[in-house]
Amino acid sequence: MIRDITLGQYYPADSILHKLDPRVKLVTTLVFIVALFVNNSWVGCVVSTVFLAAVIRLSKVPFKFMVRGLKTIIMILMITVVFNLFLTPGDRVLVSFWKLQITDKGLRTAAFMAIRLIYLIVGSSVMTLTTTPNDLTDAMERLLGPLKKLHVPVHEVSMMMSIALRFIPILLEETDKIMKAQIARGADFESGNLIQKAKSLVPLLVPLFISAFRRANDLAMAMEARCYRGGSGRTKMKPLTYVRRDYIAYAVVAAYLAATIAVRVVL
């Protein structure tokens, strides 16, 4: 029923991208996004396209999973494109009607904006499809490690994130179950006006909150029973370590960033 919501949808496969250290993937994604916005030429777009295509190919994840994420931003994408297209002033007017006009500059900005947004979503989808949410928070904890010196509770924040991520599918499943149970008792979640609809959610939300609190309570108890007391002095069962392929990946990413900057400076 509501199973289709994807969030951190990990796609299990045996590829080099899956095996990479999550830190590499996180940094690569950030670099990729920065590069997208650094770039302002068609040559740069080709570089990004080649890079993205190569990464998608390496990931061994079916392409349709990559574009699935685009569905959620289709509205934002349309609005951005339309606004940029009609409201950018430029030197040469291509089409004009009523108060709107399409200029050469507007066309270009709109196209770049669309490419950036699409690549951004597809790029981060590649990361979330090849990395489990837990690996990701691990990577974040390690990368933000230096902030501990500034008394930022890095470990606690990342622990909260991994617990939150862990609970999303559980709560979704629970919602599905309670919804079905109430539908079986004749509940109607679809028809009626806004107030009736909001009212009809009570039989869903009350049990859901109760179960969330119960689970949180149980988890806190289980963690305490295993002597969890925060990040200080805590070691990992599988600490993240870089191996050769990670260094190679870093080198490739650095080359990509350098190429993008070079294209921008030269052209």
Partner: protein, 286 residues
């Protein structure tokens, strides 16, 4: 014939890495007034199957008929079906939400469009059937014990006055006393109201004593569909798929092997007692 399934298949997340073929060509008939046990290992598809019986899940292919009508036909009244085929989910106490037990049980009948008085009358009758007396009416459902909560939740479905009542593992997580009480009440319900009951369980022990017919599911397929006596004859095959026959069956077979003239098809403790006593008497005479 109240419910009929024809070539029902169900696939979870089709065409993805997580694809699971949960039901494979299931053909079943459930007659009016039957008391059926639906048995299967975890993940055998039994919970998926029961959700097809009241239209909560739609089969990937195949047909489900209720009183001869195809429930997937256009314009079929699903809400009506759901009030005729009551489904009690696993851990039904997790669905309780009202301020007191009585109004929670009234939720179903009210959704059926009954007036407050009618709904309360139905709710009180349902609570009586599950053995919750008047003192519980105004209690918060969250003050009750585990077994009481479960009974209140079962009453919530019963109050809709269904023709068929399906219970998905109604005894999971209860102590032996709570388990026996619930099962005895369900059995009494069957006798008193003549409603069709489908009892889902992974424990043969639970159902052997009560049901008239056992349907065994294994990996999405119907493996056996017969009387308990016949099904337990295949106890070796049941073991192979991770299920076991009641302990009585094992004792009877062991006694038979030792040369006692007992009836190895005894499925309940009472039957076993009688046949052992008979065997002993016969032995004493010898």
């Amino acid at each position: 014939m109240s419910i009929k399934l024809e070539h029902v298949n169900y696939v979870y997340s089709p065409e993805t890495a997580y694809e699971i073929h949960a039901l494979k060509d299931v053909n079943l008939e459930i007659g009016s007034g039957e008391f059926i046990g639906l048995i299967g290992h975890t993940g055998s598809g039994k919970s998926t199957l029961v959700q097809h019986l009241n239209g909560l899940m739609k089969a990937t292919s195949g047909h489900v008929y209720f009183h001869g009508e195809d429930i997937y036909a256009e314009g079929y009244n699903m809400r009506n079906l759901r009030s005729k085929v009551g489904l009690v989910f696993q851990y039904p106490e997790h669905q309780l939400f009202e301020v007191d037990v009585l109004s929670d049980v009234c939720f179903g009948p009210k959704n059926q469009g009954l007036s407050k008085e009618e709904a309360e009358a139905r709710a009180k009758e349902a609570l009586r059937m599950v053995g919750l007396s008047e003192e519980f009416y105004k209690k918060s459902p969250f003050e009750l014990s585990g077994g009481q909560k479960r009974r209140a939740a079962i009453a919530g479905v019963l109050a809709m006055d269904p023709e068929v009542l399906i219970l998905d593992e109604p005894t999971a997580g209860l102590d032996p006393k709570g388990r026996d009480e619930i099962l005895d009440q369900i059995s009494a319900l069957h006798k008193e109201k003549k409603i069709t009951i489908v009892l889902v369980s992974h424990s043969m022990e639970d159902v052997a004593k009560y049901v008239e017919r056992i349907i065994v599911m294994n990996q999405g397929e119907v493996m056996f569909n017969d009387t308990p006596r016949e099904v337990f004859r295949h106890y070796k095959e049941l073991e192979a798929v991770g299920l076991a026959a009641p302990q009585v069956t094992y004792i009877m077979h062991a006694l038979k092997e030792k040369g006692f003239p007992v009836d190895e098809d005894a499925t309940t403790i009472e039957e076993a007692r009688d046949t052992i006593l008979n065997a002993l008497k016969a032995g004493g005479r010898r």
